[in-house]
Subunit: 801 residues, 2 copies
């Protein structure tokens, strides 16, 4: 590995004049970055700095910023020279000043935000708004032109970068990875993404590991391990690292030369891999190519104060945030800030009106090639509608409700196969090794799982190119999909319901991104992020308590109503209708929860579509109402297993208490339960009252934690009569019906609940109540004795018509 | 790296007789594992297998099991020979049959579960219960003797192993890592744990990467990359890999020899590092030692059916679960099962009564050295109470409520410093690079942050040994702490509130573990997992919307009430009282949320303790009730910032509407709001009604998402009058008071809410209402103009007494 480890000492190829331009740009970007952190006035230092020129609260992170500016300036040089499409992904936390500074230098910022113009007033505004109440965040964010990656919660940059270049063969994502974020789990796993990137169908990621040595308060693992260990690690991750180490912070000429050379070498390495793979004569390689990457060791807070109050700052963790913290009260600090800012020679950068001098502005790439203006970072501009096949041919024919047993997920797989066929370039399915386990295997008739490592004879459905992305990391699936969506494509993430909590935090960040993105007129709508959660809490079979958790719904419901949607289709046809709807939608996070086991189909294709459009409705075939009369009791249900149990309970009651008028209400769109004032899908109170009555008992069988339903309905007229059964954290490795019994959501319990709560029944039904209790116990005993549910349970589900 | 890569070909040192014993043990364990997956009767094959001998539902995972048994058998040999304490951590998913089989062979299983005896009946029970309704899970679980790691959700084994050996210098954790789980984020990050393990104060982890090549349906990245790339990767992670590759599945003699040799080499490598580091003459090494590890390539489903229905099974993904799936209906499968089970020669393993033959039983280590019986896997057996310093000396003196400004976290840090001093061997503080950012830096007066890589002059508070564990990975912090607690020690995890969602899923798994563990009489209570969440939603300053999320509380509240506790101390003294209580507690997950900024202290030490013991109470000093009269309105508050705003609103109202009787109720223990029937800390209805009245308006200022409070109180008499203000997902980079205003939890809004809801005020107060609205707008304008909150806001918080 000697070659890779070697610090470059040869003369680089970039000519000196173009590097002078890079340095000029870098100085300008550094000036603008420091200005954002400190100044609220006097943006061009036309007069000596006064304390009042400085912001009252000094917020922001200088440490990583000059390194980001350095990389950005160099990328601009090669973009301008090579007319290359580059997406810049800013991994290090709080690098916002860099992105904003460069966007302003490129003119993009003022094009989008016209109140931040290209003159002294604009500069003043640019500086003041940063990390200021009512202003802009200190990290890259939706507001930041050219960004698809929030720089607050760390670790997702590399996964986003890979997602962005999938199916974008012409694109390079230059992904700057902070050595802090490199310690996170998601980032550590993301390196292996190159085992899933096809050099033919996909573009390339250029990882630039930015070692500035420190996090907030500590050195970083990657920066402090022996250099040969780091080289081995990056080689082991599948890359060919090119090291650039800034030995002397003051020798910027040499730093520019070395980095320019490294960048050229990396880009030429990428091009070689691509040309070889894409050439007709290419022999398929046995393993994934070793992609080039760059390791840049540069001082934290480079070009900032070397020392403050006698302590070293540049090159240490002390440069992490605001190197000079007492500028308003300590004249020494103020003077030091003045000379620091002057060191960038602003008069050489800006003309008398604060306009960027033409020779600097002219260094920027043109139009959409500017990284701050690229359409890839505003994916809605590139978004094509999915071509969606009619799902009629995939729907289950239902002559009588509840007679056909079909796996909803298996059935959906056949429709998704056609989606894959119709959209060979902008639709992918992501999953942690579970696409077949979740029964979507029919898609493999149309495509394969992407895999770049060795292929063996025994492998099935693995290929270099394909539409299915499988890796045993929910974090990677989520990160790839986010990158894919935000660059203007479509996708689905299928996952075990319990384990999707692994990406709770990533969901948070993506939904927050969408919430802000929706409010920005210049950001075009992107495809929704669709979760398809199967292998859910009620159907675990092999798996135990650890696999039983329906709480992702609760987590999702905490986000802004404009952004989140939750669907619980009860059968195969409603799953088709809901999924089609979600794939057409924009700017949402859609959560669909549905089982994979063969289960009863209730509604024909047309009824299913109508039911899903309404999101909630009375199922006459299951109830025992009489026209024109109010029911005695309402059985509500949401989720596939609860629906089976509720329908079965209704049938039991019809048989045993024929005079009882039971209404069954099924909910597909969980948001319908909320007040119309709380959620755009919410029902008006009068409609809710019409469905659930204003005074009759409601027994509700719900897929998840029961209290969520109370939260959604506590303002409803009839809430005091609502009794919810759901998952109450009772579980183990057992049968689905045993799970229902453990959590008391089974048909017998629901019928008992009705008996207990309809006043007109009461004491006269103690016999029936006892009988139902006995049936519960018998079923339980059978299950425990024979290891399977009694036939009477698994088969007995049909309401007599 | 030639030496490390080399496949062993030399003659190993283990003598042949002891390896014959290993093989015998392995066969026995494999037989018991296959038996668990398949049989409900005929456990010793005394007669030919009949379909009815086989379980109706075949559930379980054969694939990884024989490899686990192989490793376990070899470890037993060296434990018995070297009298070494070893904790076995089973990383691969669904390896349960192996753990259970070995525990039975060692006798531990029958000692704990007396109904599963050491005879034929016991074997029948052992087999039948596995993955059976009412039985035991298919993965390692709390029920599994010798386990501290749930084998359901993957990725946490290595972090658990490191947590287990911290401060256990005599212990080796043998951690088997599946090549599937190795793709997860947490596992990928966990390799770097060796940068945080001190060979002097800590024990050692022996990672055994078990490459059997496949996940559920795919090959694995680590198994399919070029061998030299894998070697580079593991070297880069800081290990010295020893490769053992089973070239021929049938040549088990050679496999035993090679693995025995590798294991001896690894253990001797560990001992060398330890002896060198621990010797008095040892020169401190510049970098972390390169610890040995083993890579075992063995066929998936080793010793199982080679082919089924003409397709290869052993050594492929088809061996993942149940290799023969139609045993009850397909006579060929039944016959194949019979010959597979017979291949282990059960008559050589068990005597006529189904007892393990003495020569095999005698191979097990003795007593607590048995890995299934080790006290390290039942940490409560080793748990010592923490020595907790009196916190009187650390409490803030409060002459008048709301006059002293103290950072609660900073103050807590000084007390934690003493906890560290008093407990130098069984207490650690974990955090993702945020311990100082969260203001606990006083602990550095007593200890350091653990760091094994290069130390530089500029570093502060870094050392080889210490009590503070900082790495920029919430997953690692959580995993280490879990391992540390489950082996009988104590700890705190301090974290930014928003980013603790990164470990939502790990919290789920730990709380589920605790729930089951509590029900097992043989498992001794362990210390609670304590989250100290600071840098919370209301106090972000530098950080934007991505840092604002109080939803972890909601997530936690979905778990079993017996296991979870949530505390929102409003000031420094209550934070002390709550933290002390949590550090004394057992078998819970405690969540404490408290700010780090200097803020007002309300209660003196004694009052604080009493208030926290009650968990909820009326603050007379803040309200304007008169003795014996009911209030006109109740102002509730929970959380530090909401408490300031509620107290300020009460003061505003007292000044402006002196005749209004306001009661202020502060809640520290969130569970108090629940019904006593729902949670052990819940208030009885009559007590709740006494505090909140049965008919007066309640305006509640709550730290998190407001709907949680409705969920907790919807059955309370006065719920219809409850109006909750909380975080409604409005945020950006701004001041704390601006955050309060954006989410309408500020004092002015609370006072307006009171005016709007107290019927007796109404129209007569439109002037005051308008005045309050104007004050809100003025504050907002000031903040946006000057970048800081007006003095009137930051200072004006004292209720006139």
């Amino acid at each position: 590995m000697t070659e890779n480890n070697a610090v470059l000492t040869t003369n680089p190829g970039a000519d000196q004049r173009s590097l002078d331009g890079v340095d000029l740009w870098w100085r300008a970007a550094n000036y603008l970055s420091a200005g954002q952190i400190y100044l609220r006035d006097n943006p061009l230092l036309r007069r000596p700095l006064e304390p009042e020129d400085v912001k009252a609260r000094l917020l922001g992170h200088w440490g990583t910023t000059p390194g980001l500016n350095f990389i950005y300036a160099h990328l601009n040089r090669v973009i301008a020279e090579q007319d290359q499409d580059v997406l810049f992904v800013t991994g290090p936390g709080h690098g916002g000043p860099a992105n904003v500074a460069n966007a302003w230098l490129e003119g993009t910022y003022s094009e989008i935000y016209t109140h931040v113009g290209q003159d002294e007033d604009g500069l003043r505004e640019l500086f003041k708004q940063f990390s200021y109440p009512g202003g802009i965040p200190s990290h890259a964010a939706p507001e930041t032109p050219g960004s698809i990656n929030e720089g607050g919660e760390l670790g997702y940059s590399l996964a986003h970068a890979f997602g962005a270049v999938f199916d974008n063969p012409q694109l390079i994502a230059a992904c700057v990875i902070g050595d802090g974020e490199a310690e996170t789990g998601t980032l550590a796993a993301s390196w292996h993404s190159s085992s899933f990137l096809d050099p033919v169908q996909d573009g390339a990621v250029l990882p630039i590991l930015h070692l500035n040595g420190y996090k907030i308060a500590n050195p970083t693992v990657l920066a402090r391990m022996p250099e040969e260990q780091l080289a081995a690690l990056l080689t082991g991750y599948g890359y060919e690292p090119i090291f650039v180490t800034v030995q002397d912070a003051r020798d910027t000429v040499r730093a520019h030369e070395e980095f320019a050379h490294a960048l050229e070498r990396a880009l030429s390495g990428i091009r070689q891999i691509q040309e070889k793979s894409r050439s007709d004569q290419a022999a398929p390689s046995e393993y994934a190519p070793r992609w080039p990457m760059i390791v840049l060791r540069s001082p934290k807070g480079w070009t900032g104060p070397e020392e403050v109050d006698g302590k070293p700052v540049e090159g240490t963790w002390r440069a992490h945030q605001v190197p000079l913290s007492e500028v308003r009260t300590n004249p020494d600090h103020l003077a030091q800030l003045q000379s620091w800012l002057q060191s960038y020679r602003p008069d050489e950068l800006f003309d008398g009106e604060g306009r960027l001098r033409a020779e600097i502005a002219g260094l920027a790439p043109q139009g959409d090639k500017r990284m701050s203006a690229t359409a890839y970072a505003n994916g809605g501009r590139l978004l094509q509608d999915l071509k969606l096949p009619a799902y009629g041919g995939h729907a289950v024919v239902v002559n009588q409700p509840g007679t056909e047993r079909v796996s909803p997920m298996k059935n959906l797989g056949s429709w998704l196969r056609e989606v894959v066929r119709l959209n060979p370039e902008n639709f992918r399915i992501f999953g942690p090794d579970e696409t077949a386990s979740n029964r979507l295997q029919d898609v493999y008739e149309a495509t394969d799982k992407v895999w770049q490592q060795r292929l063996d004879e025994v492998d099935e459905h693995l290929a270099r190119a394909g539409r299915v992305m499988e890796v045993l990391s929910e974090n990677l699936c989520q990160g790839w999909l986010e990158g894919y969506l935000l660059t203007g494509r479509h996708g689905v993430f299928n996952c075990y319901e319990a384990f999707v909590h692994i990406v709770d935090s990533m969901f948070n960040q993506h939904s927050k991104w969408l919430q802000v993105h929706r409010e920005l007129p210049w950001r075009q709508p992107v495809a929704s992020l669709n979760y398809l959660l199967s292998s859910h809490v009620w159907q675990q079979d092999h798996n135990g308590f650890s696999h039983q958790d329906p709480g992702f719904i609760d987590h999702v419901m905490n986000k802004k109503p404009e952004v989140v949607r939750v669907y619980l289709p009860p059968d195969a046809n409603t799953l088709l209708a809901v999924t089609e709807h979600c794939l057409r939608s924009r700017d949402y996070v859609n959560v669909i929860v549905c089982g994979k086991q063969p289960s009863l189909t209730w509604l024909g294709p047309e009824d299913a579509r109508n039911h899903c459009e309404r999101g909630i409705g009375v199922w006459d075939f299951a109830g025992s109402e009489r026209p024109g009369e109010e029911p005695d009791v309402v059985l509500g249900c949401a989720g596939d297993v609860p629906t089976v149990e509720a329908v079965a309970a209704a049938a039991l009651l019809r048989e045993q208490i024929p005079e009882l008028k039971v209404r069954l209400v099924n909910v597909v769109d969980l948001m319908r339960l909320q007040d119309a004032k709380e959620h755009p899908h919410g029902l008006e109170h009068r409609d809710f009252d019409r469905l659930f009555t204003t005074d009759k008992p409601i027994i509700f069988a719900y897929h998840g934690y029961p209290w969520l339903l109370h939260r959604l309905t506590y303002r409803r007229t009839n809430h005091d009569n609502l009794h919810v059964r759901g998952y109450v954290e009772e579980g183990t490795t057992t049968t689905p019906f045993d799970m229902a019994m453990m959590n008391r959501i089974d048909r017998y319990q629901l019928a008992i609940d009705v008996i207990d709560r309809v006043p007109s029944l009461g004491a006269s039904r103690t016999g029936l109540r006892q009988q139902l209790q006995d049936l519960r116990l018998q079923s339980l005993r059978h299950t425990r004795e024979f290891g399977e549910d009694p036939d009477a349970i698994t088969e007995w589900t049909l309401p007599a018509q």
